[in-house]
Amino acid sequence: MLLVVNTAAVVKMSVELDVFVGNTTIMDKEVYQLWLNGYTVSDAVKVRMEGGVMEECEASADVLLSDTMDQFRTFQMCERLLQNPAKLANQLLFQIPPDRQAMLIERYYAFDDAFVREVLGKKLSKGTKKDLDDVSAKTGITLKSCRRQFDNFKRVFKVVEELKGPLVENIKQHFLLPDPLARDYAAIVFFANNRFETGKKKLQYLTFHDFAFCAGQLINNWTVGAVDNMVEDMDVDLDKEFLQDLKDLKILIADKDLLDQHKSLVCVALRGKTKVFNEMEANFKNLSRGLVNIAAKLTNPKDVRDFFIDLIEKFIEPCRSDRWTATDVNLYLTHYTNSAHILDSFKHQTVWTRYMGVIKSCILRMYHE
């Protein structure tokens, strides 16, 4: 008898198969996030246990495991559709209410700021993908999640790259993303396409949103699409004609009279209005030279890539070392821009406005005190 009891106790059963399919696909937001974060099933179960679902619902670890596995499988099956969100909406396999669909898509395309800072401006190539394990190690984001985010960037890039029309709108339509997320993706695509340098040490203090803001400025003002929205690649590439025209701005620093005139106009306007007037006056020529030189060099792709580092080295750092406040910078840039319009011999007003508008807002955004 004892023997029998023992064998009965030793007997194990293993779950060979375990599925749950609802007519309306059940998806738990929390589990979805764990999946997106690249957790393994067992890690996800641990996290959920710590989260206290079990006590809440009197569930056992088995139940939690089964539920987690099942949902992970569902997400995996959905992933193919998530990669082409338009399909998710008219596929028949999963019945998912539209608000859920929107949630699934939005979260699938969401990314970690830490991750995007690592790859922003890098070529979205296989090489970059290979380095993702370093990124993963550095940011603490799982490799799986890094890959998903990277692939998302790449997929959006590929689709949007060759489309006509406004970048943000195209992203919204093809990936059914909400506006803010679509704008972020536009920035990512724009950075990737122009390969802006964002990784240098001096740039480390800038957040993704700083860059995204600048990207928005550039897209809205410096691309072909800003002028003519029916041209190919209009939002992705900078307007070459405009870049060419920027060379003409050199006159502002090359012509000594003009430079002096410009300086005195700015000084008159700022006198008494800022505590750093003296520093400004002393630095004016340097700063002006810096900004105009950046403009003049933008025809060269290499210099486009260094656009942000140049802004920092040529303008932000000097100002910061002189302890300008953001208000000072704003004041200075406003008058610097406006004064140029008063210069009689300066003929390139339109280009100047288009250039300085972007520069001003970028610098202000990048100027962290």
Partner: protein
Amino acid sequence: MPGKLKAKIVAGRHLPVMDRASDLTDAFVEVKFGNTTFKTDVCPKSLNPQWNSEWFKFEVDDEDLQDEPLQITVLDHDTYSANDAIGKVYIDIDPLLCSEAATVISGWFPIYDTIHGIRGEINVLVKVDLFNDLNRFRQSSCGVKFFCTMSIPRCFRAMVIHGFVEELVVNEDPEYQWIDRIRTPRASNEARQRLISLMSGELQRKIGLKVLEMGGNAVVGYLQCFDLEGESGLVVRAIGTACTLDKISSTCPAAVVPNLSNSSPSKDMKDSLQAVPSTLGCRSTHSSPVHSASSRLSQGFSVSVPTLLFAGMKNRQRSSEGPRARQCRAVFGEEAPGVPLSSGPPTPLRAQTFSSFSPSKSYSRQSSSSDTELSLTPKTARICLSPSSPLHQCKSSPLPTMVPRSRTPPLLHVSQSDTAMLRKSVSFSEDLLLVASGMGSGGSAGKEAGPLKALLRQQTQSALEQREFPFFTLTGFPVGFLLHVGGVVSARSVKLLDRIHNPDEPETRDAWWEEIRQEIKSHAKALGCHAVVGYSESTSICEEVCILSASGTAAILSSRFMQDGALDTEHRFEDTAPPACGFCHIPYDELNMPFPAQLTYCHCCRRHKVPDVLFTTIDVPTEASITGKGCLIQARLCRTKKKAQGEGNATAISNLLPFLEYELHTQLLNKLKLRGMNALFGLRVQISVGDTMLLGLASATGVYLTALPSPGGIQIAGKTPSDLTYEQHVSNMQKKINDTIAKNKELYEISPPKLFTLDPDAFVNINTEWVEEVIGSPIPESRQRSRIFRSHSESSDEVLELDLSHGKKDAFVLEIDDTDAIEDIHSLLTDAPTPPGFYSCNTEIMPGIYNWTSSLQMFTSVRVFRLSNANLTNQGLNKIFNDLCENLLKSLYFKLRSMVPCCLCHVNFIVAVPEDELIQVAVTAVAMSLDKDQTQENGRQSGDKTLMKAITENEEQLQFPLELSAECPSNPLSSAKGLSEVSGPLPSARAPSVDHSSFTDRCSSWIEQIRLKAHTIRRGSIKTTSSLEKSSPLPDSRSRSLRSNRSCPSSSVAVVKMTPLSFLPGTKIIKYLGIINMFFIRETTSLREEGGVSGFLHSFIAEVFAMVRAHVAALGGNAVVSYSMKECVFMENPNKNQAQCLINVSGDAVIFIRESELEATPSQTQSGNVQTSSNGEGT
């Protein structure tokens, strides 16, 4: 040439890439019906082809229209090699053949491949032009409506309920044909899918013919099943209830219903009514006469084990004949947990123990009819009723069947008496005569004392007696139809498939089923009933052994729906006569009981006798008065079996079956008591055979019927009182049980009305004393492993608790004397209660809950367990099986926690033993959310509800016609919530639930899109989306889009709700579009790549849902009701990286609209009409 089928292929989308080089596909479509095939042009290099084909026209017989599916194959054109098939769509055009169903099929269908699953979608338009065919000898039955729904469908009224129809067709299974060795798995799967589609079409057509013959126009409760017999064939069989239905026109606002008129020639109902003499009944007419009786002997083996309530058994075997052909049988009356439950798994010899107990004489008279070998009677009956059957049948049949049989006597649940068994032979011939003359049950009825009963019976008897099988597959009935319920009757029979002589012919199987049905009929008769309701049939096959099972609930029905409409009015007076508690009253005569049960006076009307426990297979009748709430109760059992072959195996199985059933019953009863309840509804017992084990799973919904006495407690009696620690152990356990009962009573809000306890007690005591005398004798001498005594039960809580602690007198006693029994008791206590906020039941809805919202979630969950150690004991197996089911339920609760408070309704378990060490459990159910605020309110209300109120309420309820309650499914049950209805005017009582349903539905805005009024618009929108896609290229077409006008395409997929129930809370079904009956096979040779077995099955089930939804949407529907998964056969071979799965699902496609909408629309006057008109109808 009565029909023209037209099909148009519009477009495809999301096609798979078939040409690796270009990453594109050159798709074209073949449209095939019968032997005619059309092709579309090739749409080159597109994954979203636009064919916009012409209309392909097929001119076909309506017979073919019913049998054949439209087959659409999508292929990839290949100039140099053979064209590759992408996948197929089978469209059942049956719904188009019925004038009141769908008029067009139009929509996106998933393109399905048995190896790859869904591969894109195709947009198809199908129409049918039917010409009238009044040929009386036609073979088609267009126009007969089919419903899976197990009650009269919501927007119809039953004029006549004709009765049982059945049919069975057999074919060779393509998987076992020689050609299968050389063809691809895909070809084989497709052959099978197509064959089954053809067979079910044929089956439906044949049943339709029978219905027309009977004068009906519809089949309700249509149950179709497949038996994959392997080598011996593929059987498709169906049963149903023929009815004449009348559409309730006022419930369908003309404004909302799409044009109903259609050219299809459904036969005029009145015509058909007259056309058919009712005597033909439901005689199944195969074209070839049945001559199976003689062959059956040579086929060998046939063991029949009818049972439900076991009370002991006896296995007398005539050894000389050997086990070659054995027949064991037993009858169970179900109310019987009774007295000296001749418990035990006693070996057959032990049965002698009970011989001392002799039941009252009168009882034996009736039981004898059940004992009789009824398998003979069908043949005799047939001679009288249907001249078509050849004479030689009756000559040969008695001999073979009689001789080689050993049987367990019908244990009318309580301790069966030997005398009954002995008497069997005596009464045999007499009974045979009775049945043969077509008035079998009349004999017993006539003798009975109750004049009312006799009267009622006579009225219906004439109608029912003429039928070969007075069976009804319905589980829900129009008010007033069900007069009395006797109890569950069931029969099982073990057959050997390899003994079938003509495997391709249906005769043998027909004879098998006939035998079982006769047995059921005789059991019903033994319970004093003339009809069987909630009837169903099932099989379990393991290699060459097949267990056939049938079960139902013996009942007495009102004649109201039996004759045609004209007579109806005559019997109107009856409708008001039976009180709501009427169905609980015993149908048999109390002095002449089929088994010793304990009777008390009905706690509602106190005029009639009721049993102390009632088991049924039907849903809780709408008029029933329930105290508190119900819950799902399951008995689970696993028994090891030695591996064996052929007859040996069949013998082993048939030997085990009675024990299995007995123990399942005991478990059910114990669990019922433990919950303080006294009745089971929706009882479904499944037995599955495997090579090395037998699984038994009984599921039912327990409730406390107000009319029945309160159940006593459970008392444990130790065997060896001397041992102190043992005593302590026992008393510990006793305490646990008492606590559990108390807890359960609180949980299920069971507080029997105290006001009345005093009064009825007086009656009860008188009554029970009498019973106890009768029962008394066997108690002392029975010393079985576990014994259950029952004595009269107390109606009030306090008494119960007091009494539990001492004395066997008033309690239900469990005697434990070995570890088995201890295990049993432990397992009794291990059933975890449902977590807070959850309820569960396997009936349509939970008795006692009325505040449904419209939020629901239908799901299917499948688990397969591998037993890693083959040398298991029964206990070990039991525990595993029990844990498996419990864990599965726990998982479901966890999954659905966001819907709390909610109720899992219609929980349906399917167990199987696919391989030696595997146990498979599949569950389909629907979770329905409840309104939070009303939960408490209701609880309070039902808490202080008094019996009197319930009675008045119920009487009130009777005034509400069936249609009205159907109309407000949010509160279809009458009893507990009746309060609100009684006190307030009906509309105001309903108003809150309507409001809630409209805004608690989480997806309401989503669903708005597809509500009925948008129905036609939706059609339009599909077209516009497709055209949009045409103009604005998808990303994968690599073209460039401008600031496109591409709208978010989310509106293109219609939401389709699915539910196993016959209704959707908070909504009104305004149109039935036809039956959905689909069979799919999926196979893979890359199991690991598809995510293993779980991934494979997960996507397959999702695909099946998707295909069902697509078909419903294409018919113009927005929901499937009465959805069920009939079959889920899963086979795997992980070593070969292969798996295969077959799934069969069915349901009714419907259009529903929200009640709130109904009221909001100008149809306000109409809803007023509905009420008045239906009121008028009921009175």
